[in-house]
Symmetry: C2
Subunit: 199 residues, 2 copies
Amino acid sequence: MRPREFDHDEVLRIAFDQFWRKGVRGTSLSDIARDAAVQRGSLYNAFGSKEALFLQAYERYAGDYLAKLQKALGAGSLRKRLTAFFDLTITNFRSGTPPRGCPTTRGLMELGGAEGEGLDDNARQAFANLISRITALLQDTLAAGAARGEFDGNPAAAALHIVTVTRGLAVLERAFGDEPQLRKIAAHTIDLVLGRNGG
Amino acid sequence: MRPREFDHDEVLRIAFDQFWRKGVRGTSLSDIARDAAVQRGSLYNAFGSKEALFLQAYERYAGDYLAKLQKALGAGSLRKRLTAFFDLTITNFRSGTPPRGCPTTRGLMELGGAEGEGLDDNARQAFANLISRITALLQDTLAAGAARGEFDGNPAAAALHIVTVTRGLAVLERAFGDEPQLRKIAAHTIDLVLGRNGG
DNA sequence: ATCAGTTTTTGACACGATGTCGAGAAAGCA
DNA sequence: TGCTTTCTCGACATCGTGTCAAAAACTGAT
């Protein structure tokens, strides 16, 4: 069979960059084809449809992001880990020029709810994953370090609260673009969840 | 001069309903024209463009919503007011069949960030307005009822936190569609901000 | 080396959406 | 009744998605 003339992964990377910067609906396959130096028809042949291309590009991004997340949540005191988590989140939203915001949140609001329920599953999965990781983190802290008083709340409720705040940050980033404000909210959230003296 | 053959306000109402249900990019002017029994060209003549139509329809909605907001924030203990505020917010997200989500958040993520910075100003305005109203509410409570211990935090930071959570709720609503979960997060947020015994 | 089979590439096509334009219709006013 | 203004309506240009068929390029077997 005839071999493909372009790098599958490279195209996903280029496509996701465009989707991230301009949104899914704001990016045409012609844009991607031009940027990737590939014929538009070849994109349909290789990926199926615009939404399918976005989903594959998103999965690629999500894999990369997961590694960073592991690192952020993996070491130090609970407060340090949560701080690193919020820092990773905000830094990700503010990356690029101009800042690109949160691709998961944007994709979810752009695609979900119309007819094509495309990103719903991926976003749901990503959020659920985040929630259970943080729940586990809080549970471990609660079990292992109760004496130290790092955290004494409800792990599941607190984790849900934290993830909700990160989603709110994604929205406020688009509205205000005020990074110091986002970081203040993050710090305040950590204080609320841990208690101002906790950690 | 010849009078217009359709009800300007009625068309805005119909248009916003479609935008809310299907998103801005997911709604065509042909859809609206059909629903409103108006020629597509007349819409362009009367409103200028699709985005301009959306913005005018949004302003109309925002005016309606403001009245409900006043009512929710206007009476009772601080805890009652915040509860009413979250309740209004969530009920609004969950209105319609299927639930339509938050039009401000969705519009912001859909329009803002590409080229047309259309809803940015409106959303920014709406959020900023919300933040200052709640800040004032908390300040008043702090000043008037400090002895009762309803609230003893930083009003601005707490208000920002609360609004951030409502934006996060808008996102989680799209991802999970789990209304009880949203209400739990809201209750938990009030507890965190007021202290579990406050109010 | 040639040839059949398979997959990719490529350009043409159909369709729908946005936005513009001009001609015609209709209301109000002198 | 006739004039003017505004609206309505259909045609058009442009762009985006998605489909299809034919051509091109590689593989492997004869």
